[in-house]
């Protein structure tokens, strides 16, 4: 391979972060190659393209890779006091292909957790540093919402109007009004009007089970078409085995398995790892060597540590009248940040959001509440189309004991180890979670629910896998610096959920993508020294 053939930047992973860093660098003028271990999603197989979408969603589309077992998946094991049920996808678009599109900016205080609240760590950047990239990302993605929420700083307008609240959202809105609390229409990565050649949402709901209409802004439909037009070379079915190093200690490229299982080598001037909160520490640990015996970029010992998942639950209110819970964007009703900021009157630090959803679908609900036998139909009919669901998400602070390790007892199809997770809810998280669930009951009761049930705090839902290669200014306490550059390897960058020093209390995809766009600009600025 001649020098002219060398890609300037090699990105590993095509998900939320990989797509964003690839597009931005290509549009700045870099030559970019992206390696993705999975393949493009066959959109004819999206569950919601079929009447039996609930069954397909539990099997072929299952969010846990151990259940789904696509060729690109690797085993994940869960342990610890509160095992994490891992949810992730290995495909073009990464885990966005199974997300519901809830799309939040962090708050300014999220970047100064240690300074303000004496917990966790501060970020090496501020909200103001990231705000322009949030705006850029919202335009590329196609985000629906409304500026002006008094629970956040002033911000640029969103490119698309919010989705309608529907009957479930209207009930919750009435509850918030009766309590005198803050509420706001939820921002979503959903095209609510024709946008950038994409069709507007047609209200099918159940967004996490695939959007055949293409209105849900999974990055395979938002970022990747534009990235490919910009010249990014995307190679699918490429499972990276390790990052290779040159004699001078710099990253020289990667070794990967192609679809046939043959080892291939790819060289680059810059390597960007964007494999997600589990995949990134896995790859760094797989890239251990005599110079990096504990894993690449791991002189701090923090690769794989500080796994954060968010404190999550659902609360469900039962209403006398039908709620029309079968239509509308799943997360697109109303949310509140009434309890987002630390309140010293409470027995925990940090906070949470509560987001209205719709109602459960028949199979899902039957498995939850309708025991088999003669009382089955009565139990289901009493709740179907009478329940309103609220999603609850709170901040999970970093704990070194919550971690990701290689699992050599469970191997992928190439003989590489899977990952094991060890996780326990901290006392702060338990107190926060208990308060969060209590307030959700309060809202639903104020909205008119005759009774409320909730999902408690266990099992831990592993949608948001964060913090396992965190950024920071001190090489002793972080893996990458404020530009996502590895402290130990000058031309290695890491950007995805693993980069987040703290979790905030909201769905993280918007932040991950904003970080990736900013990372691309940092790489471009630093390219002369790389």
């Amino acid at each position: 391979m001649s020098a002219a053939d060398l890609p300037e930047v090699l990105v590993v992973g095509s998900g939320a972060a990989g797509a964003a860093v690839s597009l931005r660098l290509a549009e700045l003028g870099a030559k970019v190659v992206c390696l993705e271990q999975g393949d493009w999603i066959d959109r004819t197989k999206l569950p919601k393209a079929h009447l039996d979408w609930e069954v397909r969603g539990r099997r072929h589309w299952a969010a846990n890779p151990n259940v789904r077992r696509w060729p690109a998946d690797y085993p994940v094991a869960s342990g610890g006091e509160n095992p994490v049920d891992i949810y992730m996808y290995n495909a073009v678009g990464g885990s966005t292909i199974g997300f519901a599109g809830n799309y939040w900016r962090l708050a300014p205080s999220d970047f100064r957790v240690q300074s303000l609240d004496g917990a966790g760590v501060d970020w090496p950047l501020t909200y103001e540093n990231l705000a322009p990239y949030y705006t850029m990302n919202e335009a590329i993605t196609g985000v629906a919402g409304l500026a002006g929420d008094p629970c956040g700083p002033p911000r640029d307008p969103l490119p698309l109007p919010p989705a309608p609240l529907g009957r479930p959202g209207e009930l919750l809105r009435q509850g918030y009004e009766r309590l005198g609390w803050y509420w706001w229409p939820t921002e979503q990565a959903i095209v609510t009007a024709p946008y950038a050649g994409r069709a507007d949402c047609d209200n099918r709901g159940w967004c996490g089970f695939g959007c055949p209409h293409g209105s849900l802004s999974t990055v395979d439909v938002s970022y990747w078409p534009r990235a490919l037009k910009s010249g990014v070379e995307l190679q699918t079915n490429a499972r990276v085995r390790e990052i290779t190093l040159a004699a001078d200690g710099r990253a020289s490229g990667v070794l990967y398995y192609d679809e046939s299982g043959a080892i291939q080598e790819r060289h680059a001037s810059v390597v960007v790892v964007a494999c997600g909160g589990l995949g990134t520490p896995r790859l760094l640990m797989l890239s251990s060597s005599s110079k990096h015996p504990e894993g690449l970029a791991n002189s701090s010992g923090l690769v794989g540590k500080n796994l954060m998942t968010h404190v999550q639950s659902f609360a469900v209110g039962l209403f006398d009248d039908p709620v029309e819970g079968w239509q509308g964007t799943w997360g697109g009703t109303v949310s509140t940040r009434q309890f987002y900021e630390t309140d010293t009157a409470r027995d925990y630090v940090r906070g949470f959001v509560m987001s209205g959803c719709r109602g459960w679908s028949p199979l899902n609900l039957a498995l939850q509440v309708a025991p088999w036998g003669s009382g089955h139909h009565a139990a289901l009919d009493a709740r179907l189309n009478h329940e309103v669901v609220m999603y609850l998400c709170g901040e999970d602070l970093p704990e070194e004991s919550n971690q990701v390790v290689l699992d050599w007892e469970h191997l992928d199809r190439f003989g590489l180890p899977g990952v094991g997770t060890h996780y326990a809810l901290s006392e702060n998280s338990k107190r926060l979670g208990s308060d969060m669930i209590g307030h959700a009951h309060q809202v639903l009761q104020a909205a008119g629910a005759g009774s409320v049930r909730d999902f408690g705090l266990s099992p831990i839902w592993g949608w948001h896998l964060l913090g396992t290669a965190r950024m920071g200014s001190d090489p002793q306490t972080s893996v990458v610096d404020g530009s996502h550059r590895a402290h130990d390897v000058p031309n290695l960058y890491i950007v995805d959920g693993s980069s987040m020093p703290t979790s905030g209390g909201v769905n993280p995809t918007a932040t991950i993508q904003a970080l990736a766009l900013r990372c691309a600009d940092q790489i471009w600025k630093q390219r002369r020294e790389l």
Partner: protein, 91 residues
């Protein structure tokens, strides 16, 4: 079923339930739960069952595959919240 000298389908509803409860009570392998889940999945994906549910409860199971027109968001409902003071911390 062997004791009853009939196939499961030939048993009465009460007999079937009793046999299944025995199966559930004596299952050490999680096989019953697997059978139950598969049964629920088959039942709640059948077009006739979904049509009956829609008739009885109003739940439209065809909506996720068919879609419907989206109405605009009514921002007038935000009047009170817009008047509230900022609720975020500078950092």
């Amino acid at each position: 079923v062997t004791r009853a000298q009939r196939t499961f389908i030939q048993c009465s509803a009460d007999e079937r339930e009793r046999l299944l409860r025995e199966f559930e009570a004596n299952d050490a392998t999680d096989a019953f739960n697997m059978v139950r889940d598969f049964t629920y999945e088959a039942y709640y994906s059948h077009p006739r069952v979904l049509a009956a549910l829609e008739k009885d409860t109003g739940w439209s199971s065809s909506s996720p595959t068919r879609g419907s027109a989206m109405r605009p968001f009514d921002s007038s409902s935000l009047e009170r919240v817009r008047s509230l003071p900022p609720r975020w911390r500078r950092a």
